[in-house]
Subunit: 334 residues, 2 copies
DNA sequence: TTTTAGCACTCTTCATTTTTGATTGCTAAT
DNA sequence: ATTAGCAATCAAAAATGAAGAGTGCTAAAA
């Protein structure tokens, strides 16, 4: 347990560093934060905080910079109040009130809003489908060789996909499919659309493999496609840490790897807001960045995940407050 | 009209510069290209080419760099043969053979392929819908307050969109809508879904505005949404010109502005391949970049546009060859 | 007339040195 | 326990200098 004054010093240094991106000197916090001690006293405290690994120096005569452990302590112990202004609350409420017909659309809007308010890069991904319960499957014949499959889940998710055939298909066949698929799948989780089901259907239906196979294949493909979305990639480039070409390049590379970003969004374990600082990230590529994510959930229903990827020197207090507020708002909507 | 030797010198300089990104000296092209003259002779030619504005110097004692006019001359007059290898042809053919059910998907794959083969950043956008002829409109009731609208066009495009209602809707209403919309719109271009049509439908149908209005609104919205797609943003960052932070930042900013990229893709006027070099771009933001685009078209049917955004020092010969080949292949598929 | 060898001149790049200034840690006084 | 004061440290910026790549021009050669 840290003494009260040490906490104050650490908090001041973290916040000053978040603001300026420059190593923080003993003098600068004496002047700008209400610590009525001389710089020498602060220096002693800083030396202590460095000893227990919460601060770091870039070189012997430089100011201090928070270590990852320092940020972690700050996030866990030193941010108490919400850091969100009335204007921001208003702005967020307004944007989330847009009428949308699809959950994915809402998630995108939320990601966009977070990026706008925090000035960091946001990513989002639609709901994980494979655990969702199938409520209804509809097939609609578009023409003799083209059909639309529509899958509705209990979470209110609607997925459509086009299926093309190599031979003509008629209404009667589609009706049978409608019956068979619903009969077999209604109430089951989406992941049930698997190998055994395929075989069952081959057996059960008299229609050729040429008809059933593309249906199953395409449905699986469509449901598997995670729709990744990116907001405000350019915003990060305004930050001083992105003046290093290496950092900028790494960042672009990360955003370009969809699998990686997906993995980042999916690896959040906490109930509400996940914060991963630098090396805490499971992904090697992210060890110089911080990530904050949350799952948009109503009950057990997973409706998508939204995250921010930014520098370790991230305004955690703002980001977490905004995310909490948006998460709450989203729950209200659904 | 340029003398033959001057053409050779210009070609050599442009190609050397495309390869090395370094100002080209008289010596380097004497050694590496088959110009059997002394460096002094080449220097004289270079001075002449500079006088007529095809070359530039970065400072008095530096080698030459092509001017935009120089690149233009190179593109228009100096690239004759296709610059595409057997391996590349094979690679492209293989990738385009992937079975896809939607045109947008095919366009994405094509964009990805172009990016892979040329190592530049590719962007693509789905077809402009408003001129397409409506072949069929289908409405499918998903539940009492949710409906799916499916629009098929003569170009083989299928667009679906979900529509939510504030009041319950029944099958009979949907049937009437099916009839009315098709009756009024089949054979008409999509842009016909406009104000007069709305009013006509309000009059003609007995259902409340609460039902008709969201249908029209949402259909218009869904059809208006251009699906922008990006491939290989990170590839550009490997190029030496992107070592300048300013250039890198500009580039990220461009890619982030969807309207701008859309505009870039849409502003191609040429019949097949459009090449815009630096200041030739209508968009201010692109004056330090070059853009090559083409429209994926079958007959009059617009099926999407694909483009590359890269440095002015772009391998025009490779990019144009690859695009021509892919364009041809795409036509074969449809 | 065209081409080229040769050389002075220009300018960038890179490495090295010097200067400046911010900041610390320590010591001794408060 | 706190702080004033000061030497020591180190990065960043500025200044200096040497090396080298490339040109343009002139006068000779083809």
């Amino acid at each position: 347990m840290l003494e009260e004054r040490k906490k104050k010093v650490l908090k001041a240094i973290v916040e000053e560093y978040i603001n300026t991106a420059e190593p923080v000197s003993s003098n600068s916090i004496v002047n700008n934060y209400d610590l009525n001690y001389s710089s020498a006293t602060i220096r002693n405290e800083m030396a202590d905080l460095e000893k227990i690994g919460l601060l770091e120096k870039t070189h012997t005569s430089s100011g201090r910079v928070p270590s990852e452990k320092g940020y972690r302590y700050y996030v866990d112990e030193l941010i108490k109040e919400d850091n969100i202004s009335l204007e921001e609350v208003k702005y967020i409420s307004d944007k989330l009130e847009t009428k949308v017909n699809e959950i994915e659309e809402l998630t995108k809007i939320a990601a966009n809003t977070i990026s706008e308010v925090t000035h960091y890069t946001a990513v989002s991904i639609g709901p994980k489908t494979n655990k969702q319960i199938i409520d209804n499957i509809k097939f609609v014949l578009l023409n003799t060789r083209m059909m639309l499959a529509i899958i509705l889940t209990d979470a209110g998710l609607v997925k459509e996909t086009i299926i093309k055939f190599d031979e003509d298909v008629n209404e009667k066949q589609v009706e049978t499919m409608n019956y068979m698929f619903n009969n077999k799948l209604k109430g089951e989780p989406i992941e049930k659309i698997d190998r055994p089901l395929e075989e069952y259907l081959y057996d059960e239906m008299t229609y050729s493999v040429k008809v059933i196979k593309p249906v199953i294949e395409q449905i699986k493909k469509a449901l598997g496609e995670e729709q990744l979305h990116l907001e405000g990639a350019n915003k990060s480039f305004e930050l001083p840490e992105f003046n290093s070409l290496e950092v900028a390049k790494n960042f672009v590379n990360i955003l370009d790897k969809k699998d990686l970003v997906e993995d980042v969004l999916e690896s959040g374990l906490a109930e509400d807001i996940n914060v991963y600082i630098g090396e805490e990230n499971k992904q090697d590529e992210l060890k110089d960045f911080s990530v904050v994510t949350f799952k948009h959930k109503v009950g057990d229903k997973d409706l998508g995940t939204i995250g921010i990827i930014g520098p370790k020197r991230m305004d955690y207090s703002k980001v977490i407050s905004v995310m909490k507020y948006i998460n709450k708002k989203l729950k209200d909507i659904e």
